[in-house]
């Protein structure tokens, strides 16, 4: 799979403090990729490095195989930074037209700008100056503006922050619709959004803590909790050795098994077939929250 974004051994210090330490990960083309980490973890610095606003101390960043040090690397990158970057004294339409003029030799016809404004439900406010917009409207306009160059890579910092539920859903729908032919790289604190939109994530806290598939990691961290009648620890230990169990604990007759989610059903069936008296059984589904807290706590 071709890589849209690559961070290779990226290290960055600011004012003598390490902000990013040997970060290496890549984002495949047409992936929606979530970038997570606690406050001060280095997410915004990473985005600044990606947009070449800052220079790496060591390492390299590539966008579609082109080093970010070359201005051309940003020709097909749409971006929506945390501050929106909208000109308050210009109208919504003029803000869009400015970026249209930047990226397109021949500025596009008005219909494309109007189409994008309609996409973010701002078609009726195109002639209003942006200083009269609410925060949510500004965010939506910033996202529409990021799409003006038909970007192959879209970088968004906190896409749903400051939006009402309708606005959040709208932005998520836009991101979902883009995922067919655009790589979306976004940082967020909202794990529900990331879980809904992304298949892959990177979690950082100065160092890279995790990078990869949410589902496969969730699969690795799945567990079964079963309450068993009577004390049958010896029997359990002998039996469990035969199964594909990653780890198990027995405490006050509650058996907890760390196992892959794929074979949870098989293990439960096996427990019943071996004549264990099971009072109740819970499949513990691992979410992105679990992964996030596990890796950030272990990492720190």
């Amino acid at each position: 799979m071709a890589k849209a974004i690559e961070f290779i051994n990226v290290k960055k210090s600011l004012s003598g403090k390490d902000v990013l330490n040997n970060i290496t990960f890549s984002v495949n083309q047409n992936d929606v990729f979530g970038y997570l980490g606690p406050n001060g973890a280095g997410k915004t610095t990473s985005i600044r490095l990606l947009m070449n606003l800052l220079k790496c101390d060591t390492g390299q960043i590539y966008i579609n195989g082109c080093t970010t040090e070359k201005p051309e690397s940003r020709s097909y990158v749409g971006f929506c930074l945390d501050d929106d970057g909208l000109y308050l004294d210009l109208t919504a339409y003029e803000n869009m037209e400015f970026f249209d003029r930047v990226y397109n030799q021949k500025p596009k016809d008005k219909s494309r700008i109007k189409e994008l404004l309609a996409l973010v439900q701002l078609e009726n406010t195109e002639n209003k100056t942006v200083d009269k917009f609410s925060r949510g409207m500004k965010k939506r306009l910033a996202i529409a503006r990021a799409l003006i160059n038909d970007s192959k890579v879209l970088v968004i910092d906190e896409p749903t922050t400051g939006l009402d539920p309708d606005g959040q859903q709208l932005v998520k729908d836009i991101i979902k619709s883009l995922s067919r032919n655009t790589t979306v790289f976004f940082s967020s604190h909202n794990l529900n959004d990331v879980e809904e939109l992304c298949e892959k994530v990177a979690i950082i806290n100065k160092n890279l803590l995790y990078s990869g598939d949410i589902k496969s990691r969730a699969n690795e961290l799945s567990r079964i909790s079963a309450k068993i009648k009577g004390n049958s620890q010896d029997k359990i230990e002998i039996m469990l050795k035969k199964l594909d169990i990653l780890k198990y604990t027995i405490r006050e007759n509650v058996l907890t098994l760390d196992c892959h989610s794929d074979n949870q059903d098989e293990i439960i069936q096996y427990l019943y077939s071996q004549g264990f008296s099971i009072m109740n059984v819970n499949k513990i589904v691992t979410t992105l929250h679990d992964i996030y807290f596990k890796v950030t706590r272990e990492g720190s």
Partner: protein, 232 residues
Amino acid sequence: MRNVMKAIVWKEYMSLRHRAKKLVFSVLFAVLYLVVFGIIKVIQIQNTPQMQSIIENIILYVCVTTGYLILISLLRFSQEKTQKTLESLLCLPVNPTIILLSKCFAAVLLCVMISFFESIILHIIFILLSGAIFVSLKIIVCNLFICALLYLTFSIINGYITWCMNATYVKLMSYITALTFIGLVSSFLYIISFPFYMIFLTFLGIGIILLILAIFFLRKVDKEKIVLNLQD
């Protein structure tokens, strides 16, 4: 690169259109102030041999001074910081020097154009006032040259200090900018009595010093410096 430059110039122009009224009123006041003093001076020296040379001096001086005032209003480097648009601007696919130059170019182009038209209008006013028919090409050309040199170099220095240096230097620069304007306005009647070549050479000398500084600063424009300065 040309796209980006043209787009930035267009953006500056659109921004100006939205606040044209405010700008026109503030500039008109300064122009009228200087022109009225100029008219009084011309009336005092009417029909004397040095009248035409003083009129030439007045036209050059008024055009350069009012152009400078307009330039200060048009240069919007600090607004990019306060409106938090600077990072987005720096993400455009060109190097930061081009971005800074484009912003300067937009403002300077307009100021030079205004100065040019102002010099024509002042010619007409003083022809009507003095009764002597003259068109001083020397003044029109020198005015264009001096304005382009002074405004462009000043804009570059202003842009560099606002974006790349810390708040202390920005304040210092705004004091110097204001004092320069006050100095220009208050020395108006005194300076217009000097020979033309002295006024021209003074402006030229200042322009050359500013040019050296501007080239020095342009070579030091750095995105990282600008971004880190934003966080201070």
